[in-house]
C-alpha cells in the first residue's frame, strides 16, 4: 500500500473531527472575507450571514466568490502542511545517514501514532491531546501574527490559510510521523500535501455541508467507524513493517557490510 494512499485516506477518515473543527474555521473565514472592508463590523456581518443562508437554501452552495475564497484558504493550509512535511522529511533524511535503525524506529513510531490517533478520533483514548498540548506552544507566535490580517486581500487570505495549517492538531502530528518516517524531504512534503488534499473536500464543502452534517458530526457510531479505520491503517502498516523487517534488515545489513568493505 502506498504511503500516499494512506496519507490521503487518513485525511478522509479524520472527517468527523475535521468537519467539526475545520468546517467551522472555513465558515468563519469565508464569512469574514465576504465582508466589505468599509462596512461596519456587526450589522453587515449579520446581513452577510443571512444572505449566505438564503443562498444556501436556494442553490445549496456559496456564491462563486466564496468558493474561490475557500480555495485560497485551502491552498494556504496545504502550503504550510507541505512545509512541515518538508522539514520533517529533511530531519529524518539527516537521521537516516546514520543507518537503517532510525528509519525502522520512526516507521514504528509513526504506526503507533496512527493507532493512537484512531483511538482519539473514536473518542476512546485521548493520548494525542497531550501531544497537541505540548506542540501547541509553538502555535502561540502564529496567533499573534494573524491579528493584523485583512481578509479582503488575497495574499492575506493565503496567510490566514497558512496559519490555519499550523493549528495544533493531532491528525497533523500523526501525519508528520509518517513524513518523518519517509526519510526524504520531497516525499515528506508530498505526503503532507496529499493529506491536505484528503481534507480538501471538507474545507470546500463546508459551506453547504456544515449545516447538513451538523448533527451527524457527533454521531458516536461514525466516529467509532472512522477511528477503527485509522487504527486498522496503523495496524496494517505495522504488520507490513514487521513482515518486511526480517528480509529488509538482513538485506540492509548485507549492504552495510558490503559498503563497509
Amino acid at each position: 500500500m502506498s504511503d500516499f494512499l494512506i496519507a490521503f485516506s487518513l485525511g478522509l477518515l479524520s472527517a468527523p473531527h475535521c468537519m467539526a473543527m475545520c468546517g467551522s474555521i472555513a465558515s468563519a473565514l469565508i464569512m469574514g472575507s465576504q465582508r466589505t472592508p468599509s462596512s461596519e463590523q456587526g450589522t453587515v456581518a449579520v446581513q452577510i450571514w443571512q444572505n449566505t443562508e438564503t443562498a444556501q437554501l436556494r442553490s445549496s452552495k456559496f456564491p462563486a466568490s466564496a468558493t474561490t475564497d475557500a480555495f485560497v484558504f485551502a491552498s494556504g493550509k496545504m502550503l504550510s502542511y507541505s512545509l512541515l512535511g518538508f522539514f520533517a522529511g529533511s530531519a529524518s533524511a539527516l537521521l537516516m545517514v546514520i543507518g537503517p535503525m532510525p528509519g525502522i524506529i520512526l516507521r514504528t513510531f509513526s504506526a503507533l501514532l496512527m493507532i493512537a490517533l484512531g483511538f482519539y478520533i473514536a473518542g476512546w483514548w485521548r493520548g494525542i491531546a497531550r501531544l497537541e498540548k505540548l506542540l501547541g506552544k509553538l502555535w502561540q507566535p502564529v496567533l499573534e501574527k494573524v491579528a493584523h490580517i485583512n481578509l479582503s486581500d488575497t495574499s492575506h487570505k493565503l496567510m490566514a490559510g497558512a496559519a490555519w495549517g499550523f493549528l495544533p492538531c493531532g491528525i497533523v502530528y500523526s501525519m508528520l510521523g509518517l513524513a518523518l518516517a519517509s526519510g526524504d524531504p520531497v516525499k515528506g512534503a508530498f505526503l503532507m500535501a496529499s493529506f491536505g488534499l484528503g481534507t480538501l473536500p471538507f474545507v470546500l464543502g463546508t459551506g453547504s455541508m456544515i449545516g447538513l452534517f451538523g448533527r451527524f458530526l457527533s454521531n458516536p457510531l461514525l466516529r467509532s467507524i472512522a477511528g477503527s479505520g485509522i487504527i486498522l491503517l496503523g495496524l496494517v502498516s505495522l504488520a507490513m513493517l514487521l513482515n518486511s523487517h526480517a528480509d529488509h534488515a538482513s538485506m540492509s545489513l548485507d549492504q552495510i557490510t558490503l559498503t563497509g568493505e
Binding site: S9, S24, S60, I225
Partner: protein
Amino acid sequence: MLDSVHMSHCFHCQSAMPTAQAVTAPIAGNEALFCCHGCAGAAQLINNMGLKSFYEYREKCQSEIPNPHTDSTEIKFADYASSETTLADGSKELRLVIPDIRCVACVWLLEQVLCKQEGVNDVQISFAKRRVRLRYSDALNSEALITLIRRLGYSPMPYREGSVRLSLEKQKKDMLVRLGVAGIGMMPVMMFALASYFAGPATADNAASGMDPLYETLLRWASLALSLPVVFYSAAPFHRGAYLALKHHQLGMDFPVSLAILAAWGLSVFNTLTMGSSVYFDTACMFTFFLLIGRFVELVSQQHFQDNEDALLKLLPSTVTRVRKSNGKDVYESIASSKIQTNDLLYVAPGEPIAADGIVVKGRSSVSEAAFTGESIASIKSPGARVLAGANNHDAPLLIRAQCPAQEFLIEQIKTLYDEASAYRPYWSRLADRASMWFIASVLSLSFAAGIFWFLSGSPDYIVIALTVLVVACPCALSLATPVASTVATTALRNKGLLIRDGSLLERLANIDTVVFDKTGTLTQARLQLIDVQPLADLSADQCLIIASTLEQYSQHPIAQAFTAATDLMAGNVSLSQEGGISGVIEGIEYRIGKPTFASQAHATLTPPTREGHWVMLASTRPLAWFKLQDAVRLEAGTLISTLRSNGLKTAILSGDASSEGERIANSLQVDEIYIGLTPEDKIAHIRRLGVDASVLMIGDGVNDAGAMAAASCSVAIAPRDLVVQQCADATLLTPDLSLIPMTLNFAKRCQRVIRQNITWALCYNLTAIPFALLGLLPPWLAALGMSASSVLVVLNANRLRWMGD
C-alpha cells in the same frame, strides 16, 4: 452571548465534551471550554482575526432550524381532517404527503392498490413531490385509506404547506448520514482488499512478498466488521424497499440491488468463517456507496422543485391591513389574509406584497408581478388597474378593493394547476414502469444463468460475475428517464409564465402543425387607438379632441383609453351610458360622445365616413366630429407569425368580429387562413374541420374562444380575464407576450427530445453493459458506478430543460 454556549459542548466544534481533559482558553475576555487544543487554537485564530461574531451567528442560525420530529405513526386520524376536502359533486378529496415514496415502482404499487379499492375514483401521485391526491365517494372514509397506505409500508402525512419540504430535508440528512457511513466504511475495506490483492496469497514461489495467511485472516475479519454498518445501515433503504415490494408480490427496483449487496456480503462471511477462497466485502460496500450517490442526486433534484413551489407560497403575506369606514372615519385593522372577502378595502404599504386580487382604488405605485409573468420590471398601477395577490408593491401606498375571496386568488389557482400538472406521468413513463417489472425478472434469471454458466466452466469468479450482472442490469435510469424530464419542464415553463394545466400538453405540443389564433385580445392588444379625426363643424380637430378627452377621462370604458390629449378643462354634470357613451357640460355647453344614436338623436342616421374601423361621434347640439378608433396589433404578432411559418406551421385566424379589420390584420401578418364573423359554435366547427388532418393549437383569450379551445388538440389562453377560459385551456400564458408561443413549441420538441435521449441512453447502457458483465469483463465497482452514473446522467440531462432558452 459567548457564555450562553452549552457547557457540555465544545465552544468551537460543538461536539460533546470529553469527560476529562477539557481545555479552557480565554476568548474575548470570557473563559471558553474546548474539547481539544486544536479547537482552542482555532477559536483563538478566529477571534484574533476579528471574526468572533461567527460564533454568535452560528448559534442564531442553528436555533432557527426547525426540528420536525414527528413520527408518522404518532399522527392521529384527526390530524388528517384538515387535508380532506369535500368537492362540489359530493365526493371527497384527500391530499397526503408520503415521504418514503422511493421510486417510480412505489408510485405504481400505490396506484395499483388504491385504484382497486371500491369507491376510489381517482388516484394521482406525484413522484417528484411525493404527493398523493385521492378522490373517492363519501361512502369511504379517509381512515380506511390511510390505514391501507400504512399497511403497504408507507408513512402518509397530512399535506400541509411546507411539510413536504421539511420531510425532504429530513430525508436528505438521513441519506447523507448513510452515504457518509458507506463512504468511510468503504475506504479501509477497499484498501484491505487491494492490499491482499496486490500481495497475493502466500505460495511456494512468492513466500517473501505474499501475504501471510494470518494477516489475510486479520484483514478479512477487519473487513467484515467495517462492512457491517455499510451493509445493514447504509444499504437499509434498498433492503426495505425490496422487502416491502416482495410482501405485495411485486419485484421492486430495489430487489436486485439489495440481493446483490446481501449476497456479496453473505458469501464473504461464509468464506471468512470457512477460510474459503475469496471475499467480496469491498464489492458489497462499493455497490452500496455508489448506488446511494445516485439516490442522493435524485433527492437533491426533487428538493429543487420543492423550492420552486415553496417560492409561490412565500409570496403571500399572512396578515393584511383592512380599512373600514366607521362613523365616517377610516379604521385600520389587521386581519388574516385567508379571511379576505370580496369588496374588502385593503391598505398596501410600499415594499409590501399585495395580499389580494383586486382593483386599485387610490394611489399610484409601481408593482412587479414577477411571480406571474417572469418579468421583474415593475409596471405603474393607478386607480382602476388590476393587481394580483403575490405581486410586490414598490414605491407608494395603495388602497385596493378585493375582487374575490382568498380561495379564488389567481395565485391559489396557479398552485392547484401546478400540482395537477406535475402529477401527470407521460405515456413513456407509464410504459417504462410496466416494462421494468419484466425487466427485473429477466435480469434475475439472467444473472442466475450467468453464475451457473461460469461455475460450470470452472471460473473462480462466478459469484462476482453473477452479482455484477445483477447490478449492472437494473433499469433504474430507465424508470427515471421521463418523470424527471417532465417535472423539470413544467417548472421551467412556469417560471417563464406559462402554466400547464395538463401534463400531457408537452407531448401534444411537440406534434402541432397548425396554430389558430383568436383575433381580438390575442393578436391585437384589445386596446383601441385613435387613428383619425374628421371635424364636421367649425371646431378644429384639436379642439374636438380636447373636448372628447375631457369627457372620456371620467370613464373606465376601453374607448376612453384612446383619448389621451392633455386637457385642463373640467366637465360638470357628467353621466355615463351603458354602451360607453358620455355626456357632460363643459363651459356651459352640453357635449355628448358615443355612437351616433347616443351623441345626437337628431342625426342618428348619420353614417361614418368609411365602413372600416370603429367610429365615435362627438356632438353638442349638432355633430362636431368623427373619431376613428382601431384595435392595435400586438408588436410581437408579426414576428410570431413569421417564426411559426418558418418553422413550417400553418396559421389561421378565427375572428368573432365581422368587420374587415380581421382581413386587414391577416394580410399585414401574412396569415394563411382567415375566417371572420364567427359565432363560438362556428369556431368549434372550424377547429374540428382543421383537426381532421392536422394537430391544432388554439390560442385565445376570451370566453367566446373557450369552446374552440376545448375542441382543439391543445390550447393556450393568453392572460385571460375569466377563470372559465383558464379552466378550458390546457395552458395559460400569464403575460400577454406572444413570443413565448414559438418558444414553447420549440421547448416542447426539446423536451420530447430529452426524454427520447434519456430512454435511449438508459436502454443503450443496459444493453451494452449486460454482455460485458456476462462475459466477466466488467469489474463490480465499475458496474455499480456505471449504474449510478447512468441515473445521474438521466437526471442531469433532464435538468438541461431547466433553462428554456430563447
